[in-house]
Amino acid sequence: MWDFQFTYEAMPDLLSGILTTIQLTLIGYSIALVLGLLVAVVRRTPIIGGIVHFVMEFIRTTPLIIQVVFVFLMTPADISAFTVGVVVLGVHYAAYTAEVYRSGIEGVAKGQWEAARALSLSTGRTWGAIVLPQAIRKVIPALGNYLISMFKDTPLLFAIGVTELLTQAQRVGSESFRVVEAYTLVGFLFLAVSVPSAIIIRRLEKRYAAV
């Protein structure tokens, strides 16, 4: 039988867990958005671009959980698991968002670059005012999907002891032996965040797909 008393008592811990999960996602996603954009732009330069490309390929072809554990073990103990987790998550996803940005940048017509050059616009202005606004607009839906994807990957940080939702559930579940309730609640809490996010992203998609 479902234990409602347990549900009631476990809720505060689980809610604090999902709060951590949301924080991880938002900070990690911000890192991924900014770093990925930087990578996408730098990748177009000759030598450094090649190196960056290699590193990003490496990140994309190795499992996230191994990166998390590896970096956690390699960093000094005074850096918290949360910080390590959020940075690794952000950098890992930057490898993906960089690809998304790249496709957006390549989708900007050659004539736009030529018009910017014909008007003598600086490189910074060409990127900032002409190319990136057009490129990013096109890839907003694709970027949005990675937000949900990242959110669903946060339980991996369980492996290094970040007290996110799964860690909390495991703790309260094993203390009270109500494992079914604990993990079911985890599922529902994930749903409660994912579904509204997916709806918002689908709206964004509709809004920007038209252009």
């Binding site: 030529e114 018009a115 014909a118 008007l119 616009l121 202005r125 057009q134 252009v211």
Partner: protein, 274 residues
């Protein structure tokens, strides 16, 4: 305006008689393909030159070289008496650096076949972007100039529209205003009506006729609109296989072409209904 009584190969002489644009033995190759083959020609200040010839004869490449969208393979381009494709170094020349090109090309404007307006900006922003950010023109002044230019091209009421809301002809007229907003000395027109529906061509050409009449901007124009070429140009250059096959005053070129390539080309253009 240069004198209008020029004929045949006598080029109108501009101020001081100094050539504004000089191509000196220019070669342009794309891989194995030679597009321009040791080309020599020059353009005087204020002169309007039309480049005609079959596609692939290198006309557009000339405009793209002047706009620095391409680099010369061999030879040199001079603009305003100073090296343009190259810059002085020691006793010789070295290919121009990006920053050298940036400082030199501000006085050159280009209108493209595909308009190339910035779709993420309003008409106003399209026009004031470069004057404000490149020339450092105060925003109010740039805005006033933009309004003036839009009136010139007959689109005064479209200043807050977005390019996607405009017809092709309207977009091209905005593109002309955008190029003029930089107050260029040289205006390059690359088949500016080729992408337009036939009924929209006249409006764009009228605007360019007006620009030709009211300014002394040097114009280099690639077009298949022969009546327009006849109206505005001082000189017509017929290109064939990367070289100038024939050049002359438009009256002579269109009424009495001497070179058989020119005759054949004009015949084919006229038969296509242009």
């Amino acid at each position: 305006m240069p004198p209008s009584d020029t004929h045949d190969n006598d080029r109108p002489q501009g101020v001081g008689g100094e050539d504004l644009i000089v191509f000196d033995q220019v070669v342009k190759r794309f891989g194995d393909l030679t597009v321009l083959d040791h080309l020599d020609f020059s353009v005087s200040p204020g002169e309007r030159v039309t480049l005609i010839g079959p596609s692939g004869s290198g006309k557009t490449t000339i405009l793209r070289l002047v706009m620095t969208l391409e680099k010369v393979t061999e030879g040199m381009i001079w603009i305003g008496g100073k090296p343009f494709s190259h810059m002085p170094r020691g006793s010789g020349f070295t290919p121009a650096s990006e920053s050298y090109l940036r400082s030199r090309r501000k006085s050159i404007g280009m209108v493209f076949q595909q308009f190339n307006l910035f779709p993420n900006m309003s008409v106003r922003k399209n026009i004031i972007e470069a004057p404000v950010n490149v020339l450092g023109t105060p925003k109010e002044e740039a805005n006033a100039h933009a309004e003036e230019l839009l009136d010139l091209v007959g689109l005064g009421d479209k200043i807050d529209a977005h390019p996607t809301q405009l017809s092709g002809g309207q977009q091209q007229r905005v593109a002309i205003a955008r190029a003029l907003a930089m107050r260029p000395e040289i205006l390059l027109l690359d088949e500016v009506t080729s992408a337009l529906d036939p009924e929209l061509v006249a409006g764009v050409l009228d605007v360019l006729r007006e620009v030709a009449e009211t300014t002394d901007i040097t114009m280099l124009c690639v077009t298949h609109e022969m009546s327009f070429a006849r109206d505005v140009s001082h000189r017509v250059l017929m290109f064939d296989k990367g070289r100038i096959a024939e050049e002359g005053h438009p009256d002579q070129m269109f009424n009495d072409p001497r070179h058989e390539r020119t005759q054949a080309f004009l015949k084919s253009v006229l038969e296509n209904g242009n």
